[in-house]
Each structure stands twice: as structure tokens, then as C-alpha cells.
């Protein structure tokens, strides 16, 4: 479903601040793969997701989504394949617009926008149905401005928007990291529910070691722009969090257990 071949991305090339964010990275995802990505700060996790989404061009390498080369397509064109949820809950929704307007924009991902009325009464029924799946009571607040919602509500809404038209690839960039623990769990449960229902191919960046081993079917560890560990079903089951942290230390020579990760456990 997703094939990355020899991706390379350097920020500030040629200057003393040059930083190799992706270093000849390759990765193959089968349809329905749900991959958790872990790694220290600056390992290139977000750069990887942004490169796939097309936020910036890569220096070298191929990005193939469902058999189609997309590395030369602009971000908005790739959007027809990709659903995204960002770390910042403010990033994924338009605050000054209503819940139904936000959903109406999401439902048009990947298709042409015309001079047609964006929201019909049928749409409203559909939106209410979908919102009720979130279990947050948003189905009764279709005409509420999104700016009035809490971070967790906005993130759940963003998740719904990213998957309203099932994408070929779902990119989640630490999408629960800035939520309080209770809300984070709700959004995470929703994520699993939606992904398994639609059988979405998913890449999820996380800082939570426990989640990284228990969610999805594959765990990838990144370091200095490369994948240094790739665990699938069986290996993953036998792996403990301590093992994982040790492996990281052995592979990279750096201890990954920073405060944030310990707290996340």
C-alpha cells in the first residue's frame, strides 16, 4: 500500500545547521498495516510523516502509494490518498467555522469542489450519524463553532474528518500527545475502532512505549533518520518495554528514556 524507497531529506543543506532528517529510509507497508513509530527527539518521525504527506519535497527517493508515484505531487494533490491528524488539536480543524462546515470540507477530500451548496439536509443526517460514533455528544452541536470545543473534542473531530472519506493511508503524528490522559485514551480507542472498521493502513507516531507495543500490528523504531528496529507480530509479542528501551540503547548508543517517555508509561 505504501512503499518508501531510499528517502533522503536534509534541512538547511550546505550550512552549519545542516541536519539530515531522513537518511536513505526505506519502508514497505501492506494494506491494513497499523504501524507504530517510536524514536527519540529529532529521530525524523515527523519529517517522515510530513514527507509522505508532501508538506515539503524530499531530496531523493521514491514514495509510492497504492502503486502511484506521488513524490512529485503537491501536498493538496496527495490529500486524496492521505488522511492526517496533527499533534496540535488546533491544526486539524478551522476554528471559526462550524462542526458541520468542517465535516463538509472533509467529505470533499479527494474530489472536485464546485459552486454547489456545501451542506444538504442529507449531509446533516450523515454527519450526525458519524459524530454519534464518537460518543462525545457532538451530534447535537452541528452548528457550533469548532473554536468553542475542547482540545480532545477537536482532536476526535479531526480524526473523524481524516477518515470520513476512508484514506488509503492514515498519518497520525502524536495525535494524542497534547491531550489529558483521560481524553487521550478516548481518542486512542476511537482511533483503533475507526482503523479496524475501515481496515485503514496507518502510521502512528507515539511516545508511549506501552501503546507502541500493544496497538497495531507492527512497531518501528527510528534513529537519526533511519529505521533501526522493525518488529512484527511475533517478535512484538515477546518484547517488553524494558527490552525495547535496551534495544534502543544498544542500537544507537544513546539512552532513549527521557522524562517524557517515562511519564508516558
Amino acid at each position: 500500500m505504501l512503499s518508501l524507497q531510499g528517502l533522503k531529506k536534509t534541512f538547511n543543506p550546505g550550512s552549519i545547521n545542516a541536519k539530515i532528517a531522513l537518511n536513505e529510509l526505506s519502508l514497505e507497508l501492506k494494506p491494513g498495516d497499523f504501524v507504530c513509530i517510536i524514536g527519540g527527539n529529532g529521530a525524523g518521525k515527523s519529517t517522515l510523516l510530513n514527507s509522505i504527506a508532501g508538506a515539503f519535497p524530499v531530496d531523493r527517493g521514491k514514495i509510492v502509494i497504492d502503486g502511484q508515484n506521488v513524490e512529485n505531487q503537491p501536498e493538496y494533490a496527495r490529500a486524496s490518498f492521505i488522511g492526517r491528524v496533527f499533534q496540535d488539536p488546533m491544526m486539524g480543524t478551522a476554528a471559526s467555522m462550524t462542526i458541520e462546515e468542517n465535516l463538509a470540507m472533509a467529505v470533499k477530500r479527494g474530489s472536485r469542489r464546485c459552486l454547489r451548496r456545501a451542506i444538504s439536509s442529507q449531509d446533516r443526517v450523515f454527519f450526525s450519524e458519524q459524530l454519534s460514533l464518537l460518543g462525545l455528544g457532538l451530534e447535537n452541536r452541528l452548528s457550533t463553532r469548532v473554536g468553542l470545543l475542547s482540545g480532545g473534542q477537536r482532536q476526535a473531530l479531526t480524526l473523524l474528518m481524516a477518515t470520513l472519506v476512508p484514506p488509503k493511508l492514515l498519518l497520525l503524528d502524536e495525535h494524542i500527545a497534547s491531550l489529558d490522559p483521560g481524553t487521550a485514551q478516548i481518542v486512542l480507542d476511537l482511533t483503533q475502532k475507526i482503523v479496524s472498521k475501515e481496515k485503514l493502513t496507518t502510521l502512528m507516531v507515539t511516545h508511549n512505549m506501552e501503546d507502541a507495543l500493544s496497538i497495531g500490528n507492527r512497531t518501528i523504531m527510528m534513529h537519526e533518520g533511519q529505521i533501526i528496529l522493525d518488529l512484527t507480530d511475533k517478535q512484538r509479542k515477546n518484547m517488553s518495554i524494558t527490552d525495547l528501551l535496551d534495544m534502543f540503547k544498544n542500537a544507537s548508543g544513546v539512552s532513549m528514556a527521557n522524562d517524557r517517555m517515562l511519564l508516558a508509561n
Binding site: Y76, M91, T93, M97, A104
Partner: protein, 299 residues
């Protein structure tokens, strides 16, 4: 005496409506797109110049008015392309167009800095022939334009393209990740906004019976003042309300201007007054935060 005073306030209402078309344009660029577009100063004059020149040359005033709109549209298109294709920052792109338009406007008016339309038929004299009383001609036509434009904007901003336009001003990253080419929506928004500004210029030139090269100076600030005052007085909870607020804001602005001129402020000080008005409106939230110290700390 009473009649004289009344006619002054009628004048304020007339101007409020005709300039209101410009304010609706500024609302599109400044509020909807969140693009501080200084092209407005040039495209307002351009609309007036194009209309005046065409009417002067004997074309139908209706065609001339429409061409004023088209000219503004093209000016906005250029600003949009400067910003999206040449990647010039919004403010600078607007300033460049504004300066370029200054020369273009003089050319349009045949090298003269002023073009008189005295004793030439305009859209306003045209509809007097329909039997509308002379005193009500401008208000009728102004109101008709405002209602039609507000209605079209209300419908447009709720279409699929309209939502994309609003989202471009609200959260560019988000709407791009939903598949919208934000460069395109910016160009569309700037074109439409400046189209309305050009139309307003065309109407104002006919209303005052002349166009001059300086008629657009400070227009962006007038537009801002009107948008802000309207939103403060009427509110911006819903799209419908905001559109009405913008028009009312334009009328309030003209009434305020009329009032300060009545109490003796020379006309040459009007631009200073307008700038101060905008600064005060912008400073309001900060002043509110600082003045009642008790209330602020409670929050």
C-alpha cells in the same frame, strides 16, 4: 434648515451604501482570507477611472460600471499571482500593485489626474428615467447593489468552493491536507474582493461626477474601520449577521465622518481621523484587558 440637515444625513447613507460595496470586498480579503490587501487603494481608483473613461467616451454607464468591476478583478488577480507564483509577502504584493496601479490609473484617465462626468448620463441619471424620485435614486440603486451582492456572497461562502476559501483564511495547513490548492483559493478571493472594490469605485465616481487619481488613497483603512465598527456594533456570530454588520459598519463610518465634519473638523484631517479610529478599535481589546485590573485577574 431642517431640510438641509436631513439631506446631509441622506448623503451619509448614500455614501455608506456605495462605499459599502468596497467594504464587502475588503471583508473578503481582510477577514475571510486573512490577507491584508493594500491593492484596494489602487483598485478602487481603477474601477472609478475605467468607468469614468468609458462613460466619458460615450459607452453605456452600465457597461462602464461592469468594466470597473472587471478591472478590479484583474488587479486582484495580479496581486494573487504575485503572492502565490512569485511568493511575494501579502503586504508587499499589495503595495506593489497599488503603486503600479497609480500609473495605470493615470493612463486610463488619459494622462489627466481628474476626469469630470458633469452633465453626462450615469447609472444614477439612467434610473431616474424609470420614475424613481431624484432624492431616492442613489439610495435605491445602492441598496439594490448591496442586497444582490450580500445575497450572492452569502450563498457563495456556503458553497464547497466558499468553504474552502474561508478555511484558507482560517487554517491553511488544514485545508491543504484536505486537498485544497490554497494558492488557487487565495487568487479567487483576492480577485473577487478587488472586483467589488472596483465596482464600488465605479459607482462612487458616477455618484460624485468625477474620478480622480487620488480617490482611492486610504481606502483600505476606511474599509478596515467600517468592517471593525460593524462587527463591534452588530456582531459576527453568523455569516448572515457579519455581512449585514459590514454594510452597517460602512454606513456608521459615513455618519461618524459627517458628524465630525459638522462639528468643524476640516476635510483634510479626515484621513488622520480615520487612522486614529482604526487604531482605537484595534487597541480596544488591550485597553479592556488592562483597565479593570480586578476583572482581568479574575479570569
Amino acid at each position: 434648515m431642517i431640510n438641509l440637515t436631513a439631506s446631509i444625513w441622506v448623503g451619509a447613507l448614500e455614501q455608506g451604501l456605495l462605499y459599502g460595496v468596497m467594504v464587502l470586498g475588503v471583508y473578503i480579503t481582510f477577514r475571510v482570507l486573512d490577507f491584508p490587501d493594500l491593492t484596494v487603494d489602487g483598485s478602487f481608483t481603477l474601477g472609478g477611472a475605467v468607468a469614468a473613461r468609458l462613460i466619458y467616451s460615450g459607452y453605456s454607464p452600465w457597461l462602464a460600471t461592469f468594466m470597473g468591476l472587471a478591472a478590479g478583478l484583474i488587479a486582484g488577480l495580479c496581486t494573487g499571482l504575485l503572492h502565490t507564483k512569485v511568493r511575494i509577502a501579502p503586504l508587499l504584493a499589495g503595495i506593489l500593485m497599488m503603486i503600479a496601479l497609480y500609473s495605470i490609473n493615470l493612463r486610463v484617465m488619459g494622462g489627466k489626474s481628474m476626469l469630470s462626468l458633469l452633465r453626462i448620463d450615469t447609472v444614477f441619471t439612467d434610473i431616474t428615467l424609470l420614475g424613481i424620485p431624484k432624492q431616492l435614486v442613489v439610495i435605491t440603486l445602492g441598496l439594490a447593489f448591496i442586497i444582490v451582492i450580500c445575497y450572492l456572497m452569502f450563498v457563495f461562502l456556503q458553497t464547497e468552493v466558499g468553504l474552502a476559501l474561508r478555511a484558507t483564511g482560517d487554517n491553511e495547513q488544514m485545508i491543504r491536507s484536505l486537498g485544497v490548492n490554497t494558492h488557487y483559493s487565495k487568487v479567487v478571493g483576492l480577485s473577487l474582493g478587488n472586483g467589488l472594490v472596483g465596482l464600488s469605485g465605479a459607482l462612487v465616481a458616477q455618484y460624485q461626477s468625477f474620478s480622480d487619481a487620488g480617490m482611492g488613497i486610504g481606502m483600505i483603512v476606511v474599509g478596515l474601520a467600517s468592517v471593525i465598527m460593524g462587527e463591534v456594533v452588530i456582531g459576527n456570530k453568523t455569516l448572515r449577521r457579519t455581512l449585514i454588520a459590514v454594510v452597517i459598519g460602512s454606513i456608521i463610518y459615513r455618519i461618524v465622518i459627517t458628524f465630525v465634519m459638522r462639528i468643524g473638523l476640516p476635510a483634510t484631517d479626515l484621513k488622520l481621523f480615520t487612522a486614529v479610529l482604526v487604531i482605537l478599535a484595534m487597541a480596544m481589546p488591550i485597553v479592556k484587558e488592562k483597565l479593570p485590573a480586578g476583572k482581568a485577574s479574575e479570569r
